[in-house]
C-alpha cells in the first residue's frame, strides 16, 4: 500500500493540494486501511486477501485523488496565487528581517556609540555581540528566505519557473541592498539609518560588488533546490 500512497501523494501535490492537507489525508487513509484489514482478517480472510479487499474498499488512486483535487479549499497558496507566494511574501519576510536588523544597528549605535558619527567602527565587548546579531540577520535573511522558497517549491513539487523567479529577485535585492547612516546635526542626537539599492562602488575583476554578492546569494540559495530536483528526477527514473 505504501507504493499506492506514494503515487497518491505525488498526484495530489502536483495537482496543487497543500502539503498539510495531503499529510492529514494520507494519515487518515492509513488508519482507515488498518481498520479495514483487521475487519477483513476477522471475517476469516488470509493476509493477502484481506489486504486486497481492504484496498478495494478504500478506493482507487483516481477516485481518492479526484475527491481531494476537486475541492478548491485544499489548494495551496503557492498554486492558487504563485505571484503572492513567490513574489510578495518572500520580499515581505525579507523586508521584516531587514527592519529588525536595522533597528538593532540603530539602537546599538545610540546605546554603545552615542558620540560616534557612524556605527561602522571598531567595536568592543558586548557591542560586538549586539551588532553581530544585527549583521547576521541582515546578511543571513536573503539566504534563509531563499532556502524557504526552495523548500516550499520542493514540498509542492512545483515546476521551477516561479521558484527561480523568486530566487533571482531575492538575490538581486539581497545583493544590491546597502545601508547608509547619518547623524543629525545636533551633537549626540539620534542617528538616521536607511537603505538603497545599487550595485555598489567596489568591483571584483570589473564586476560590480553588488552583482557578485547577488550571484553568491543565488548560488547558495538555488543549489540545494536544484540538487533536490536532480535527486528527485533520478529517483523517478529509477
Amino acid at each position: 500500500m505504501a507504493k499506492q500512497f506514494d503515487e497518491l501523494r505525488e498526484r495530489l501535490l502536483r495537482a496543487g493540494v497543500a502539503p498539510r492537507h495531503v499529510r492529514r489525508y494520507l494519515g487518515e487513509l492509513g488508519d482507515h486501511l488498518t481498520d479495514l484489514k483487521a475487519e477483513e482478517r476477522k471475517a476469516g480472510r488470509s493476509r493477502a486477501e484481506a489486504e486486497a479487499a481492504a484496498m478495494g474498499r478504500l478506493g482507487g488512486v483516481d477516485e481518492l485523488s479526484q475527491a481531494m483535487i476537486g475541492r478548491r479549499e485544499f489548494q495551496s497558496w503557492s498554486v492558487r496565487a504563485p505571484w503572492a507566494a513567490f513574489g510578495v511574501a518572500p520580499l515581505l519576510v525579507l523586508a521584516a528581517a531587514w527592519y529588525v536588523a536595522l533597528f538593532i544597528l540603530w539602537s546599538g549605535w545610540n546605546v554603545f556609540l552615542p558620540e560616534s558619527s557612524t556605527p561602522f567602527v571598531r567595536l568592543q565587548g558586548v557591542a560586538i555581540l549586539f551588532f553581530g546579531i544585527g549583521r547576521s540577520i541582515f546578511f543571513g535573511a536573503p539566504i534563509l528566505v531563499g532556502w524557504g522558497v526552495g523548500l516550499m517549491a520542493a514540498r509542492q513539487r512545483l515546476k521551477a519557473v516561479w521558484p527561480v523567479v523568486s530566487l533571482v529577485l531575492i538575490a538581486l535585492i539581497g545583493g544590491t541592498g546597502q545601508v547608509h547612516v547619518s547623524r543629525t546635526p545636533v551633537a549626540g542626537g539620534l542617528g538616521y539609518i536607511g537603505m538603497n539599492f545599487n550595485v555598489g562602488p567596489g568591483s571584483l575583476r570589473g564586476v560590480p560588488a553588488g552583482v557578485v554578492h547577488a550571484l553568491v546569494i543565488l548560488l547558495i540559495t538555488a543549489a540545494p533546490y536544484f540538487v533536490w530536483r536532480l535527486m528527485r528526477a533520478r529517483h523517478v527514473l529509477a
Binding site: 489525508y25 488508519d31 478495494g56 478506493g59 476537486g70
Partner: protein, 117 residues
C-alpha cells in the same frame, strides 16, 4: 489498487447530509462513519471509503465540524463532531432533501399528473 463499482450520486451533496446527521448523534472517526453509513443504508450507498475524508475535511474547514485527536485502545484517531453551524447546515440540507424526495415521489407515483387532470 483494485477498481470497484461506486454510486456517483453519493457525491452530490448526500455525503454531507449523512455525515452531519450521524455526527449530530455522537462523535465518530472516519472508519466508524463509513461503517455507520453502510449499515444504516443497508449498503445501498456504495463509495470508495477513503472518499469520506475530503468531505470531512471540507466540512471542518467550513466550520460545520470540529475534530480532535483521541487515543482509544492504544490507537490515536481523529474524531469529528458537529458544531452549531453544522447543525444549521444539517437543518438546511434536510429541508432541501425532503422537498426534493417529496417532489420526485410525486412524479413517480403520478400524483401531480392526476391532480392536473
Amino acid at each position: 489498487m483494485a477498481m470497484r463499482e461506486t454510486n456517483p450520486s453519493f457525491m452530490n451533496g448526500v455525503p454531507e447530509l449523512l455525515i452531519l446527521r450521524l455526527l449530530e448523534q455522537e462523535e465518530m472517526y472516519g472508519y466508524e462513519i463509513v461503517q455507520a453509513i453502510r449499515s444504516r443504508t443497508d449498503a445501498v450507498i456504495a463509495v470508495g471509503e477513503g472518499v469520506v475524508y475530503p468531505v470531512l475535511h471540507g466540512l471542518e474547514s467550513s466550520g460545520a465540524l470540529r475534530s480532535r485527536r483521541k487515543t482509544v485502545s492504544g490507537r490515536s484517531r481523529i474524531y469529528y463532531s458537529v458544531t452549531a453551524a453544522g447543525r444549521r447546515r444539517l437543518a438546511d440540507l434536510s429541508a432541501t432533501w425532503s422537498n426534493l424526495t417529496s417532489a420526485i415521489q410525486k412524479v413517480l407515483t403520478g400524483a401531480q399528473y392526476g391532480e392536473a387532470i
